[in-house]
Each structure stands twice: as structure tokens, then as C-alpha cells.
Amino acid sequence: MAERLTREDAAYVARLARIQLSEEELERYAEQLADVLEHAAAVAALDTEGVHPTSHPLPLRNVLRRDEVWPCLDRAVVLAEAPAAEDGRFRVPRILGEPL
């Protein structure tokens, strides 16, 4: 926690989040994120030994749906929103990376 977030950290995060940022933007975001994280450090320093993490405020379990078919969307409506479509499918530029 001690380390202040660096421009390199910001660049890594921008790649992970897939947002293209200029050098100048990276500098600025790095500063702002580092400031916010300093406030968050108060939380990081708390003693939470043995405390269960809450990912959800509700004690719900087993919310299930029956295996029944519902109507699908009209393909024309779906593809009308697509930035590019061809042959009933969504068109994207070539993909460099592999699905993992």
C-alpha cells in the first residue's frame, strides 16, 4: 500500500481496461488515482482479521428460473443497433489476440 501509484501502473490499468490514453492523460490520471487511493488507504489499514467479506447486502440463495423458452429478439432490431453487420452477424475488424 505504501507505494504510490505510478504512471506505469496507470498505463497497465489502461491496457487492462482497454482505454487508449495519451501520455499526458496517463500522467494526469495517475496523479488523481494516487490521490484517491491515499484516502482509501484508511480502509486498507483497518484491522479486519476474521471479518467475512460482504459481496451482497441480501441473504438470498437459490434464485432459480425454470428451463422454459421465452421469445427472442428480432434479429433486424438487434443488428440495427450494431455499428457494423454482415450476413446476419456483427462485423468487427480483425482480431489480433487469442481468446483465452
Binding site: 487492462l16 488507504a41 482480431i95
Partner: protein, 494 residues
């Protein structure tokens, strides 16, 4: 108890005294005159709203029940899906997106006879406390157009405050209903997590988001909550039981109720706000409530925990805006560059900041220290509230530390902006209900809100306390930017 304009209008339409079309056209006319300066709306549904109103009139004419909100105009925050009507989240990335479906709350409004007259401005993807982060420009505070209306649901709050709609819907992730309600001088309620369906609410932070009502009176807010609440099988986090009914208990008073005044929820506020909390406590005591001073130290950790949890969820929720299936695309030679260029062009600075912050908090090596730790702090806060509610029925505090601030004041300093949410965030972390009710104004005449909190499913309690405060509140000046006639309860042409 003050009955509100929504219930009055509905009663008139149901009785056939006025047509829904007339009511809706009257409000659309006010929007046309006032909104160019106020900028509460992103999209106004002129034709669609009149057609919907005509359908309500047909039902009335046929002698059938048009529903409890018959002909009542509603302002809906533009992060709730409306079929065929663009839903932008005030973001460039969704500027031209037309959802093929209605959010559950929109379906319920329609089924109750209400008429959506427009989609209101917000901080992009509901991230902000001033509505300045809208890609389409800020909304003004009706009480002082040089100031912010609060946020992120600033558009709905301003529309209701200015009389452009009697009721509105907002979403509250860290205070986004209550904070603008306080700054605009209207009632805003964040219901218990799970009581109002999130299906069709464009997600910001899924474990915190909750839709709730804006209104000019507590009873109208209760009426609206009763319409939108209740189990929805399309939302796995929707409570599978009837939502608490509130409209029928609004006037029940607080005699004998134990109300705790939480030190951490007002002591860092500016003097006028602190004074309002004290006066509110006295008013409750005068109505027979038992007032207790109390302290919940864990509440101080809520804001930093929130600013780790909410961005983390947001970073994942907003990944889908990648230029592939809908929304903006910026062309590039390969899909990876296309994604990155699209997101850079489509997201504003605050969204980018939070997506990066959340990505960082979840990334390898930092999860335990940030996200995991914040989840544990969330547990501490939930437990602290639970212990407190063993002693009291409701809690009282300020909604915000300050009244409305000037446009541009805090945009350069994220943490200063985030501090606007310091009193509202704890209820989102706990999942419990809270209401903000106007309670006087500061020296500049700017509205002050006080906040009532209760344990889960305590909506009946918060509206009861809220209604007592409403009745005891010092009068608030008329907003400068408003349709006075509509505010006055009359909807005759001005």
C-alpha cells in the same frame, strides 16, 4: 399529512375531471418553456407521452381502472431502459442507443397509468454528485441556476423541483437520489436493496444500485414507491416477498418511536446543515418521538470503502461498451485498437477515472488489499448498523455536508466531489432504506435536506418520520427556475 400533486392529478384523471392528455400537455408545455435553461431532460417524449396519455383516457372512458398514477407525468432518469426511446446514460458511448426493451420500473409505471414525459440528465453512467459529468452539459439547480442540482440523478431532481413533473425516478448507488433531492429541495428515497427491480437499470455498481422515487411530498414518494416496488423474477437480487406498503402509513406519526441522531452523519457538515438536523430532531421530539444521541464510528470508513467497491463493479459493468454490438464505435484496423479508441472517445473523464480505479482495485496483487478489504469493511458497517437498530427504530442525520455548490467548483478535485456523498454512502453499503426530506434553507436560500434511515424493509418507518419532518419544516422559497403554477398545485395554464 400533505397530499401531493401526483395523487391529486391521478384522482382528477380517474374521476374524469381532467384528461390525462391535458395534464401531460400542460407539463410538456412547461418543459418546452423552462428546460432550455434548466436542462433537466436529455430526451423529451412529446408525441409518445401524449399518445400514452390518450391511452389512459381511453381506459378511463371505458370505465376501467387506469391505475393509481393515472395520467401522472413522470421524469425518468436516462439510465433506465425505455423501448425504442434512446437511453443514453448521458454518455457519448450510448448517445444513439435505442433499447429493445423496457425496464421493469418503466413497465410498472405504464401499468399504473403513469406517463413517461422524458428521460432526465445524469452524471455519465450515474458517476458523480453534480450532474456536471453529463456528456450533454450540466443541469442547473432550479433554486440558483449558477449552482449544481447535485447528482447523479440531478435531472430528475431538478425536473420535480421546477414543477416539470410531479414525480420522477432516480437511481441511488452512493446517494444519487438523496443528495440531489437535498440540493434541489425535494423528497428522494433510496429503498431497501432488492425491493425495486434493477432489470433495465443500466448498471453502475450492481451490489449498491437501487431505483427510487423523487417527489415534492413524502406521500407522493410513497405512492410512487408502492407502484415500482415488489418482486421481479428478472432480477435475481429482487426480494421474493411483497415490498412494504408505504402510502397507507405515511400519516401514522412518530409517537413513541425511538430515533437516533447519528453524530457521524452531521458533525462535519456546515453550520446551517447542522442546525437543520438539530431543528429536525426537536420537531420529532415535539411529535412524540424519543430522541437519542448516538455514534456509529464505522460510518467514517464508508466513503473510502465505497470508492473502492463501486468503481470495481463499475469497471466490469462498463466493459461491454466496446463498439461491437451497439453504441459508439471509433474505427481502427484491429478489434483491440477499435475497443480502446471507442472507449477513449466514448467515456468522459470521471467514468475513465472510475473504470481505471476499479480495474486497479481488482487487479492481480491488489485485490486483497483494496477490493477484499473494502468488502470486509462493508461487513463492519452492516454489523454496526444492526447493533444500533437494536436500540432505535430510525436514525436521523444530514443528507449532504453542504448545500448546492457552484457549477465548476469541484470538478478539478475528485475527492472533494466524492465528499458530497459522505453521509449517503453508508445506506448503500448496508442496503438499508433512507429518505431525504427538505428541511429549511441556508442564508442564501438554498435548500437543506435531512436524512432518515431505517433497517432493511423499514420504508414505512422512513416515510412516517419523513412526513412528520415535512410538516414541521421551515418554508422553502420558490425556485427561480420553475413553473410556479404547477408548483402551486394548480395546473391551470400560467
Amino acid at each position: 399529512m400533505t397530499s401531493g400533486p401526483a395523487s391529486l392529478l391521478s384522482a382528477q384523471v380517474r374521476a374524469g375531471e381532467r384528461s390525462a392528455v391535458e395534464v401531460v400537455e400542460r407539463h410538456l408545455d412547461a418543459v418546452a418553456r423552462i428546460d432550455p435553461e434548466l436542462h433537466a431532460f436529455v430526451t423529451v417524449l412529446n408525441d409518445g407521452a401524449v399518445a400514452a396519455a390518450a391511452a389512459v383516457d381511453t381506459v378511463v372512458a371505458a370505465g376501467r381502472d387506469p391505475g393509481p398514477l393515472a395520467g401522472v407525468p413522470v421524469a425518468v432518469k436516462d439510465n433506465m431502459c425505455t423501448r425504442g426511446v434512446r437511453t443514453t446514460c448521458s454518455s457519448r458511448i450510448l448517445e444513439h442507443w435505442h433499447p429493445p426493451y423496457d425496464a421493469t420500473v418503466v413497465e410498472r409505471l405504464t401499468a399504473a397509468g403513469a406517463v413517461v414525459i422524458g428521460k432526465t440528465n445524469l452524471d455519465e453512467f450515474a458517476m458523480g454528485s453534480s450532474t456536471e459529468n453529463s456528456a450533454f452539459g450540466p443541469t442547473r439547480n432550479p433554486h440558483d441556476p449558477s449552482r449544481v442540482p447535485g447528482g447523479s440523478s440531478g435531472g430528475s431532481a431538478a425536473a420535480v423541483a421546477a414543477g416539470l413533473a410531479p414525480i420522477g425516478l432516480g437511481s441511488d448507488t452512493g446517494g444519487s437520489i438523496r443528495q440531489p433531492a437535498a440540493l434541489c429541495g425535494v423528497v428522494g428515497m433510496k429503498p431497501t436493496y432488492g425491493t425495486v427491480s434493477r432489470y433495465g437499470l443500466v448498471a453502475f455498481a450492481s451490489s449498491l444500485d437501487q431505483i427510487g422515487p423523487f417527489a415534492r411530498t413524502v406521500s407522493d414518494a410513497a405512492l410512487l414507491f408502492d407502484v415500482i416496488g415488489g418482486h421481479d423474477p428478472m432480477d435475481s437480487t429482487s426480494l421474493d416477498r411483497p415490498a412494504p406498503r408505504t402510502a397507507t402509513v405515511v400519516g401514522d406519526g412518530v409517537d413513541g418511536c425511538r430515533v437516533g441522531v447519528v453524530r457521524e452523519l452531521y458533525e462535519d457538515a456546515e453550520p446551517a446543515v447542522r442546525a437543520a438536523v438539530s431543528a429536525a430532531a426537536e420537531a420529532l421530539a415535539g411529535a412524540g418521538a424519543v430522541i437519542e444521541e448516538c455514534s456509529i464510528p464505522e460510518v467514517r470508513h464508508a466513503l473510502p470503502a465505497y470508492y473502492l467497491l463501486a468503481p470495481a463493479e463499475a469497471s466490469s459493468n462498463l466493459a461491454r461498451y466496446d463498439g461491437v454490438r451497439y453504441g459508439l464505435r471509433v474505427d481502427a484496423p484491429d478489434v483491440e485498437s477499435m475497443n480502446a479508441a471507442t472507449r477513449a472517445a466514448g467515456f468522459g473523464a470521471e467514468v475513465t477515472r472510475r473504470v481505471m480505479l476499479g480495474t486497479y482495485a481488482l487487479s492481480a496483487g491488489y485485490y486483497d488489499a483494496y477490493y477484499g478489504q473494502a468488502q470486509k469493511v462493508r461487513t463492519l458497517i452492516i454489523d454496526a448498523f444492526r447493533r444500533t437498530y437494536e436500540q432505535v427504530d430510525a436514525l436521523l442525520g444530514a443528507t449532504t455536508p453542504t448545500t448546492a455548490f457552484a457549477i465548476g467548483d469541484r470538478v478539478q478535485d475528485p475527492w472533494a466531489m466524492y465528499l458530497s456523498d459522505v453521509f449517503s454512502v453508508p445506506s448503500n453499503l448496508s442496503g438499508d432504506p433512507a429518505i431525504s426530506v427538505p428541511f429549511g434553507s441556508d442564508d442564501a436560500g438554498l435548500p437543506i435536506g435531512v436524512q432518515v434511515l431505517a433497517p432493511a424493509l423499514g420504508e414505512p418507518m422512513v416515510v412516517r418520520v419523513g412526513a412528520v419532518l415535512e410538516a414541521a419544516a421551515p418554508p422553502l422559497g420558490q425556485p427561480r427556475l420553475a413553473d410556479r403554477a404547477l408548483l402551486g398545485g394548480s395546473s391551470e395554464p400560467s
